[in-house]
């Protein structure tokens, strides 16, 4: 329990840090591009809207502390400002439309990639030294070194453009109505397969090699030898003895690499024009839509922190040493 509280404490600090970073970046930025942006909107927006933009970007004569409290107050009310790209839609509305797409795509493909990678890693470690074991890791190493977005471009070119197996862009067929109906779900799945495949292929090597390497170490432990000597079935030795003891570092690795995977997956969304957070981020960059950009960063940071926390809890549940760890 103490461990849990400590972790919660850490994630609260991390959350505070990302919120504060979000607050400070526009205010510390040299030359203040936001000011130029607001100047562009002068005369086209109602004074109240202009004023709210000013508060958002810290163009005011008030002290930094007052601004910080205003900012926190806005945040507490879910007010992330107004998007310029989708003017006058509030940023929170834009994000809440995008987030289900991203959560489904990135969440599902990360889970698939983690489970598949771990399982293959177990088998490769079990058959270490065979041809299979010496060919698969180098190939996957090559794939893991490829930038996510380039693999996305290639698969889009070969599988969607040349072979016509998959739709070229978007998250669903525009002729269908968004909602829980058959045609929409089918088209959403059709549009999701290729981006998901790209994310799985580029991230699987990490989990696979991590699992293989740790498992090779546990395989030479005495208790594995003992289990074999007792004549236990191979499957049991492989999963209940060797893999079970090797999986913990992989779960820690899941937590560490999550931010990295999410970053890559956002780029995949951009290539596929997938209607998620990554694509919105691109729109924000191209239109100098600072409010949207910052809102997106905050949401992504919170999501990654939450996922990390989840991995921490799983880790603590599986490993008594983590629970008992003192200071």
């Amino acid at each position: 329990m103490r461990h849990l509280f400590r972790r919660i404490g850490f994630y609260l600090v991390a959350l505070w840090a990302s919120i504060t970073l979000n607050f400070l970046i526009p205010r510390l930025a040299p030359g203040n591009p936001a000011e130029a942006l607001i100047a562009r909107f002068q005369g086209r927006l109602r004074p109240e809207a202009l004023h709210s933009l000013e508060i958002e970007f810290g163009i005011s004569n008030q002290s930094l502390w007052v601004q910080y409290l205003q900012y926190l107050n806005n945040l507490a009310h879910g007010n992330l400002g107004v998007s310029i790209t989708y003017f006058p839609t509030p940023v929170s509305t834009v994000i809440s439309q995008d987030i289900p797409w991203t959560l489904t795509l990135i969440g599902l493909s990360t889970i698939i990639s983690f489970i598949l990678g771990t399982l293959i890693g177990i088998f490769l470690a079990w058959r270490r030294g065979t041809t299979l074991d010496s060919t698969i890791p180098p190939i996957l190493t090559f794939f893991s070194a490829i930038p996510y977005f380039w693999l996305a471009l290639l698969s889009l070119y070969i599988l969607a453009y040349t072979l016509n197996w998959f739709p070229l862009n978007g998250g669903y067929d525009i002729s269908t109505t968004v909602g829980l109906n058959g045609p929409f779900i089918i088209s959403a799945i059709q549009h999701g397969i290729l981006p998901a495949l790209t994310i799985v292929v580029s991230s699987i090597a990490g989990w696979l090699l991590g699992m293989r390497n740790t498992m090779i170490t546990t395989l030479s432990e005495d208790y594995v030898l003992m289990a074999e000597a007792k004549g236990l079935p191979q499957r049991r030795v492989m999963f209940n003895y060797a893999a079970r003891n090797a999986i913990l570092p992989n779960i820690t690795g899941l937590a560490i690499n999550l931010g990295f995977v999410v970053g890559g997956a956002l780029l995949v969304e951009i290539v596929f024009s997938y209607p998620g957070v990554g694509f919105a981020l691109l729109q924000a960059v191209q239109n100098s839509d600072y409010a949207l950009m910052q809102g997106l960063f905050l949401i992504i940071a919170i999501a990654v922190l939450a996922a990390n926390f989840l991995a921490d809890i799983v880790n603590a549940a599986l490993d008594p040493r983590v629970r008992q760890e003192k200071g």
Partner: protein, 368 residues
């Protein structure tokens, strides 16, 4: 607040995930010249100071000379050890090739990579080896010039990231106490924050665009991995005899940190640098692809940007976006191979390929 450290306990030396961000983890403690021999029993060598005698006796009297000699000695030992591994040699030769192209390539290409021509969007031919872009620029010339920019900024940014990691990691590990509490909290927060979105927000606020902006932004968001590893290394070293001796002889703290401790960690730093460069090159290309680089500086990433913005894909112009990506992939694979090779040296159980197959497993189990 070191109790808040999420990564201190569970990460084992074998936990290398292959993802670039994690490159430091695999290198347990390969120090000195005896990496392979000393770790033959599966335990990484207990890192003895590289030349214990030289460090503790000579340092104050003779300025920088022994230190540089020590670093050189350590690096040459490191070099000897890594060149014995086939994966490392393979990776190093590919990198050497790219570095040579970056240095000498543009001398042999007499086409301006930015020059427009009448020859629009033509596929590879004898006159344009890799075809042309929408505005008639020669893709081959762009790739060669782009290699120079991407490699140069990749290594430079890698260096910046490494320097920042060293400074923060060593200070946290050496000072301990409140300094360590604050710095490790900072390290851990930066570890969990998603780097790419943060870098995008930072870069968007920079008043000027270009490779330098990208380098600064990447440095700010990516130093934490290295710092964490070096902090742990330094903590294990701060109570060693040679450090105590230096302290007793009245050396200044900064000198102890950077001239006594750092040279003993140089192999870890070097191994981490390899992973950092790979990570940085992909990161740079990603930021440039989104349009946060300078569109006039030809690099692998800006080639993607123009290809994507001109719908190269829908025009079927594969020769526009395949070459730069292939370069990154091959270079990345080379760096990854080096990293795995280093892993194998740190953890000899991973070295399976040279053993005779079935027999080896049996003997290994019997021994175990």
């Amino acid at each position: 607040m070191s109790q808040l450290d999420p990564l201190e306990k569970p990460v084992t030396a074998e936990n290398t995930n292959g993802l670039p961000a994690n490159f430091y983890d695999g290198v347990a403690e390969p120090s000195g010249t005896h990496i392979i021999e000393a770790s033959a029993n599966g335990q990484a060598a207990v890192n003895t100071p590289i030349s214990a005698a030289g460090t503790s006796i000579a340092p104050v009297a003779v300025g920088g000379a022994p230190v540089t000699a020590m670093i050189a000695g350590s690096l040459s030992g490191f070099w000897r050890a890594i060149t014995r591994n086939r994966k490392v040699v393979f990776g190093l030769s590919i990198i050497l090739f790219f570095v040579l192209v970056a240095i000498f390539g543009p001398m042999f290409v007499h086409t301006d990579p930015n020059a427009f021509s009448e020859n629009l969007l033509s596929p590879p031919s004898a006159s344009n080896w890799l075809g042309t872009t929408q505005t008639g620029q020669d893709v081959f010339a762009q790739v060669i010039y782009g290699t120079r920019v991407s490699i140069f900024w990749g290594f430079l940014t890698g260096l910046l990231v490494t320097i920042l990691s060293i400074t923060i990691g060593l200070c946290a590990g050496y000072f301990g106490g409140v300094v360590d509490d604050v710095l490790s909290l900072l390290i851990n927060v930066f570890l969990v924050l998603p780097a790419l979105p943060l870098a995008i927000v930072l870069a968007a606020y920079f008043p000027f665009k270009g490779p330098l902006t990208v380098a600064i932004v990447i440095t700010i968001t990516s130093w934490a991995y290295g710092a964490r590893v070096l902090r742990a290394q330094t903590m294990s070293m701060r109570r060693r005899d040679f450090v105590e001796a230096a302290r007793a002889s009245g050396e200044r703290t900064l000198r102890i940190i950077f001239f006594e401790i750092l040279p003993n960690e140089i192999s870890v730093v070097a191994a981490g640098f390899v992973g950092t460069v790979l990570y940085v090159i992909i990161f740079e290309a990603s930021l440039e692809f989104i349009g946060l680089g300078s569109p006039t500086v030809v690099s692998w990433g800006s080639m993607f940007y123009w290809a994507q913005n001109n719908d190269a894909l829908l025009l079927g112009a594969w020769w526009w976006f395949v070459p730069p990506g292939l370069c990154i992939a091959v270079l990345g694979a080379a760096l990854a191979f080096i990293n795995f090779g280093i892993d194998e040296m740190a953890n000899p159980r991973l070295r399976t390929e040279r053993r005779p197959k079935v027999k080896a497993l049996k003997t290994q189990k019997a021994v175990a």
